[in-house]
Structures are given as structure tokens and as C-alpha cells.
């Protein structure tokens, strides 16, 4: 399911501002019907919104402060869909897409940060948006984490989805269990295991790239395309 895309180029910005709230409901319906391009459009809407919210929050807060993905995703939800009636399924699709998009926002930050650190071109993301909240170490970890998560996704999509929604969507395990229609026990088990497994993978990846110079192919490895809403 996880195909690759460049990950650096940002999704095309969604056009207008006022029609967004109205657009999001239709887009969600299209996503659920599986229409071509609908998910890209939703992701573009979300990407822009989450990035704006994130950078606004980051500018306003002390360095090292927690980013609060729960709050960000909730805020995006309220702004994009809060005034519309969404079905439970649409809301699900929204939150799933939001988790994936949040991951993407963060990986783009991390990459931009790394480029800046290396003295590369820093045009894509202004430095002040990147600087305050992620340490160098955290940026490197984020990039490794993204790749390890993609590997997990290939092996066990459910576990990857749980981790993604917990960490990037800020959802509680109970909510995720309800959304995926599996028991909380299973979700807890997968979460614990995925977390431990990903930690080990990230450490290993960092250790090997510390020894091997630039590490994984210039650092801009594969980013998973946004997965669709959970099917199981």
C-alpha cells in the first residue's frame, strides 16, 4: 500500500480560503467513495492547515515546548470541518488523513532543518519556522522514524496505523480501538510493541548513518503516500 513520493515537494496549495470548510465535507465523501485524486486534495487541504497551525503555535511558544499534535489535529478539525455535519465515517477518514498529513508536515520540517544545517538551500521552509521546536537530534530521529514506520507499515499495517494515529494524530488508544474496530487490548499490545520496535530501528539507523557518513541515500528517503482510511 505504501508507495513512495518525493516527500520534499509540498502538495499543491489548495486554492481558496473561504470555501475550504465546505470543500472538506465533499472531499471526504469522495475519499470514502475512493475517487481518484480525492485523497490528494484532502491531504493538500490538511497539509496547509496543519502547517499553518503548527508554525503559528511554534512561533508563540518557548523552544522545546511540546508540539501537542492532539491539539493541532483537533484545531484543524474544527477549522476545516467544525461547522459541517460529518458522519462518523467521514470523521474517521478525516482523522486518519490528518494523522498521516501531520507526519508529513513533521518530516518536511525535519528535512528542511537538516538542509539548513548542512548549508543547503533553505528556501522551502523559512528557518524561523523550523528552528524552535525540534532539536537536531529529534530531526534526525524523525527522518529515521518515518522510514522505520514505513517498513512496519508494509509488514503490519494495523500496528503502523495505531502508532501513526497515536503519535501524529494525538488520538487516544481507546479512540483508535473504536475506529479500527479492534479491542483496546490488541491496540495496547500493538502500540507497546510498535513503539519498542521503532525505537530500536531508529537507534540502529542513526548508529549506522553516524558511521556511514550521510546515511540513507541523501536523507530524503521514501515518504509513504497517505494511506486511505482504515478498511479493517
Amino acid at each position: 500500500m505504501a508507495t513512495t513520493s518525493n516527500g520534499v515537494g509540498h502538495p499543491a496549495p489548495a486554492g481558496k480560503g473561504a470555501g475550504e470548510a465546505a470543500a472538506v465535507g465533499d472531499t471526504l465523501a469522495r475519499v470514502r467513495r475512493g475517487e481518484a485524486g480525492a485523497l490528494d486534495r484532502l491531504t493538500a487541504l490538511l497539509y496547509r492547515e496543519l502547517r499553518q497551525l503548527a508554525s503559528r503555535r511554534l512561533r508563540g511558544e518557548r523552544a522545546g515546548h511540546t508540539l501537542g499534535t492532539t491539539a493541532l489535529v483537533n484545531e484543524a478539525y474544527l477549522r476545516l470541518a467544525g461547522q459541517r455535519k460529518l458522519t462518523v465515517d467521514d470523521r474517521e477518514a478525516f482523522l486518519a488523513a490528518a494523522s498521516t498529513t501531520m507526519r508529513r508536515v513533521l518530516i518536511d520540517y525535519a528535512r528542511a532543518r537538516r538542509r539548513v544545517k548542512r548549508g543547503g538551500d533553505a528556501v522551502a521552509v523559512p528557518i524561523e519556522e523550523v528552528a524552535p521546536f525540534l532539536s537536531d537530534r529529534a530531526c534526525d530521529e524523525m527522518i529515521e522514524l518515518d522510514q522505520a514506520l514505513s517498513r512496519l507499515e508494509a509488514a503490519q499495517p494495523r500496528a503502523a496505523r495505531i502508532f501513526e494515529q497515536r503519535v501524529f494524530g494525538g488520538r487516544s488508544l481507546a479512540e483508535i480501538a473504536a475506529a479500527l474496530a479492534v479491542s483496546t487490548k490488541t491496540v495496547q499490545r500493538d502500540w507497546d510493541a510498535a513503539r519498542a520496535w521503532l525505537r530500536k530501528e531508529v537507534r540502529r539507523g542513526l548508529d549506522s548513518s553516524a558511521g556511514g557518513g550521510d546515511g540513507n541515500g541523501g536523507g530524503d528517503g521514501p515518504t509513504p503516500e497517505a494511506p486511505g482510511p482504515p478498511e479493517a
Binding site: L67, T70, L78, G82, Q83, R189, W197
Partner: protein, 787 residues
Amino acid sequence: MLDREDEPPVPADPAPLDPAGLDALGAEDWDRLAELFAAAAALPAGERELYLDAECAGRAALRREVDEMLRSSGDEGALEIEDHLLRWDETALPPGYRIGPCRLVRPMARGGMGEVYLGERTDGSYSQQVAVKLLRPGLEATGMLDRFRLERDVLARLSHPSVVPLLDGGATPEGRPYLVLQYVEGLPITEFCTERRLGRRARLRLFIKLCRAVQYAHSHLIVHRDLKPSNILVDETAGVRLLDFGIAKLLAGRPADGATLAAERAPMTPDRAAPEQLRGEPVTTATDVWALGLLLCELLTGRLPTRATSAAASGPTLPAAPEPLDRDLAAIAGRAVRERPDERYATAGELADDAERWLDGKPVRARPDSLAYRVRRFVGRHRAAVASAAAAVLALAALAVVSTVQSARAIRAGEHAAAEERKAKAVVDLLLETFGATDPHAGAIGDSVSIGALLDQGEARAADLDAQPEVQAALRHALGRIRLERGNYERARELLGAAREAEIDRLGESDPATVPVRINYARSLHASRLQAEAERELRASLAVLAASPGGDSEVEAAALMALASVVHGEEGVRALERAVVLMRERRDRDPVAYADVLTGLALMRRMTGNANDARALYEEALSLYVAALGAEAPRTLVIRSELVSLLEDPAERAAGHRELLELRRRRFGDDNGAVANSWNHLGLALADHGELAEAEEAFGRAQAIWTRLGGPEHPMAIRALHNRALTLVEQELLAEADQAYAQLEEQLGGAHGADGFAAAVRAERAELRARLGGAAAGATVPAPAHG
């Protein structure tokens, strides 16, 4: 991909995992890995080795994975990035940490709103177990605290065994707001039902208790807004305890970076939000009825209903129950979760009643029978609207009638008293007949459109009463007062004018019994900007009173107050001081009337620049109003607004006015003079705080409302427009400012053309035009369009 060179040689696996780790690991292998990891992690460190030796015999790769995962788990293994993203959820304050007056004992729960700790509150000699809610960072602490202070007296009025009281609130030194609640031991209602394996009837009985508690709060005009299982605890004795009443509202304020109004009203829990909450419409008691309906579904079927997908649908689809849900119960739940608030049960009490009927084996109101149901649904819709609107009208009407009776009784003490009482009773009966007798608390936060329709109905009724002119006049007087309170000045003037004519015809112009209606008529004239006529009417009334000694001092005081609001200045202050003296002896018997006079004097003192005297008077009036009318009564809100306006800090002022604005909009709808006043006050505070664009917007809202209510030349519309113009100048939006000034001069050309204000406006505009000339020379500002 994985570097394994440093690993010791291991025996070959019978079914080896790909050395590349999980790349070739399927779902089954993951499950095995996750199970092993969970089981091993649960063991004491010393026993893990033995366990894994046994479980992974012959599967070295699997064993390695588990070992490494175990080394990575635990707090020490955390990555920095996790710390950034998850610290909020993973950290808890240590026992003994002090927050306000409380010492934390242990963390209890985490939720969307923040963390909950068990705490101990030690106030000198006694100590008490409390729940401390530490709210998420990002909720604006100052705004929250202001709202908290404003709401605290309201919440303190709740005293019900099922309503868990809010004890205290504040902010930590880091600025995180916290709330202190009484600690309750219990399980969320859904878990309680599951754990005790309660049957349907027992669940319903719990649900009914819950509805009764919600009804109690509604009767105090407090809406919960966020009813969900985690807020509804059931204790050992099956007592229901409701947490967080009013808290959703405290938290619903403006986020730090200023989102829209719709977001301000946004629900705490989107899955459970009522359709009107999702639409950003005002929250009413019907919103809680919705949440109760969802909970009923959940209690009966174990699941939440599915939301409607189109606006045309009348409500969510109920989930299929494990056992078929009784048709009547499904109908009850369905009625509570109708899409339209006015199609739901009018009150939580009605919902409880229907559930009780079901328990008693009686036919329920929410019948599922389809044809009959469709007919009933139409009727039910109207009934629901009538019930909530009638309550509000009755509350106002009762005030009006009572005050008529009091004045009449005092003035006509003696032979006419009995007749006046009969008349008053006839009026009350008529009101009851017209509006339908209901529980006065039912849906007290009513739907203003329906109230308007009801008033129309009442007026039509009054028009039919030509055969009983006394009753007709009294009814018109009462309805006119309601119209006046509601800001419908035109209608108020017509009704009060007709009532005045009738009373003067009946009693003669010099009878002091005509004075009450004349005062109200004068108030309606004043509100309609007919100042000269209002002043004449009031002076004539005072003359009538002066000519009949031994009259009612309350009526005289009312006339003096009305006069003061027309003449202002020194004469105004003198009139009010005399009114206060007249009313002081009535303070205990009629605190509201006394507070009215205090308010008038405070206003006048403030207008003459004496803020300190004003504050003391306001505070005295406020305590009287709150005790007599409640914390959200229209009069109480006026005083709260004045006190907020006296605050030094513009940010505090803005927060206070925003709160009051929301309260008023909820209670009176958008097109209301009090709402317009709040917008104007908010604009002033925002402008002082430097938020000029927001201030301009607020003034624009005030101006639009006043224009709709009283025309573009209404003095308040003009004042709001002037404020807006000044704000535009401050923002250097000179062309737009010039347009506003052009409009202002046009309005002032009429009634107010000659006074000092008009002169000041002309001077301001001349200055502006001089600057515009300079700017236009620089060719940066387009030539102003003429307004």
C-alpha cells in the same frame, strides 16, 4: 539493511525470519512478536530470560528482536522526538506537587481537556479530598479565569446531590489553568452498567436519575454542554454524580490565537456534539437533551447511533441492539436525538417522564407508530417551541403584572384594591391561557423567534378584549413592557400608548393610577428617540404625583429615574439621588426596585466622571440583583457589563465583555439592544488593547444592530459608527475612515446637527481630509467614495 556483524553466531532457525528484520515479516509474525514482547515485558526482569528461552527455542532472530525491543522500552529508551510529540501524554506531576490550595496525591486520568489528579485540599484545620483538573496548555489562562470568576456564582447556586460542585480555580505559576472539584469515587455510567451487568430496567432507572439532575441544573439556567459517560459517575450506592457542569462553557472561550466565533462555541467532544453545536449555533437545554439521547442509546445498545448524513434526515440512525430494541424505547431515544432542537423533548424532565412511563408500562409520548407519529411530530414540534418560549414570556410577564399590582395596590389603597386584584388576576389568567401553562423552568433559554410569535399572539388576544377595557389595558401594558425589555421599541410604543389612552379615558388625567403606564410609555418614547415628548410625559406624571400626597414612592422614584435618563446632567443626578432616598426604605421588601435606582445613579455618576462612587453603587446593585433575579438576568447583565467596563486592564475588559456578549446573544438573539451595547463595549476594550481591526468589526456589529432596531439615526447607531470611524483613523485606513465620517455627517444632519457632538465630528473630519489631501498627493490612497 540491518547491521548484524557484532552478533554472536546462533543456531540455524528451523523457520528463520528474514535477517532484514520485519521486511518479510507478515501479520502473523508480528502478532507473535507483539505477544512475546507483551508477555516478557510484564515479567520481572529476572524471569524474562527463562521465559524467552522457552518460547523462542530455535528461533534466534525472533528472540533477538524481542530482546532489543525490551532494551528499548521503558522511559530510558525514549527518543527525543517522542518527547516532543508525546511528552504531554506521558508525563505526570509528582505526588506532593502543590497547585493552588491543593497538594497532588496521584494522577487519575487524562482526557481531551487535560489531566486529572487526586488531590488534598488543606485549608487550615480541615482537609478534603478533591479532584484537580489541570487544563491543557493553550487554553488562554486569563480569559478562562475571568470567565471562571464571572460564572462562579452561577455554579455555586447549584446544590443537588447529583451535581458535583466546583470548589475553586486558578492558574499555576506557568499559566496553566486548573479547576478544583469535589472528589467523587465512582465509575462512568456505561462502565457501571457493564460491570454490574445491569438489565434494561435498572439502566433506565439510572438514566432517569441522571435526567432529573440535568433538569435541576437547567432550571438554574445552566447547560452542561458536554454530557458523556466520563462526566457521569455512578457510586457504590448507584447514586448518579454529574461532573463538570458549566465547565465546557468556561473552556469554550477564545483560544490564544483568536479563532472564529464558531470555534469558540465548538463542542468539546465532536462525536457527541449536537447538530446545532457543529453548526456553531447557540447551545441550549435542548443540546443536553441530545446528549442524553445519545447516552440512552449507548446504555441500551452499547453503541452510539450513526449520525445523519444529510440535512434532510430528521436524526441519526439508531444502532441495532444485540437484542431487538423495544420500539417504544427506540422512539424515546429517537425523539431525544432529533436533528432539530425544537423537535426533541422540550426538557430533560420530559425525557425522564417518558422513560418512566415506559417503566410503568404506560404508552410513551414518543410513539413509533408511523402515520400517527408523523402527525404528532408536527404537533410536537410546535409544543416544544411553545413550552420553551412560554416559560421565558411568563417570567417576564409575571414581573410586569406583579409590578402593576404592587403599584396599583399602593396607589389605590382602599376601595379599589379588590377590583385591581381581580383585574390583575384576569390578566394572569389570560396570559396563561394564551401562552399555555407550563413549568416555568421548562427550557428557560428559549427560542427568541417563537417568543416573538407568542407576543404577536398575545397582542391579537388583547385586541379582542374591547368588552373588558381594564383588562385589555393591563394586558397591553404588560405586553408593552415585554416589548420594551426586548428592544422592540415601535411595538412597545403602540401598546403602551394604547394602554395609556385607555387608562386616562377611564380614570382621568390627574389620577395617580395612570402614572405607571405613563412612565412606561415615556420610556418607550425615549427609546424611540422622541426625547421632548418623553420629557413632557414624565414631567406631567411627576406633577400628578406631587398633587396627590401620600402616593406610592416607588412610582415617584420610577418617574424620577426615567426623567434622569432623558435630561441627564445635574438635574439627572439630583433626580436620581432623590429616587434613592425614596426607595431606600424598600430595600428589603423590593430589592430589585432599589437596585434599579442605584444602577441609575451609578450610571449618572459614571457619566459625570466619578468612577469610584459608581463602582460601589454597582456592586451593591449587583448583589441585590443576583440574589433576587439570578446571575444571568437582563438587569444583572447590565451591571456586570458596567463593572467590566470599569476594569483597568483592556484585555480583562475585552474578555469580560466577550463573555457577556455571548450570554446576551444566547438569551436575546442577535438583534437586541443589549447585544449591540456589548458589541460596542467589546469594541472599546479591543481598541484600548490595540486590536484595532477586531474593534472596528465589533463597532460595525453594534452599528448594524442599532440601525436595524432604531434606524441609522439612532443615537447608539451613531455612536457606534463614530467609534468605528475613529478606529479606522487609528488604523490609518484613511479612505475608509472618510467614508464612515461622510455617513456620520449625513446621519447627524438630521436631529443632532446643531449639538457639540456634531461640531466635534465635523472638526475630526476636516482634520482627516487635510491628511487625506497630503496622502493623495503621494498617490497612495484612492480618492474616497462618497458614502
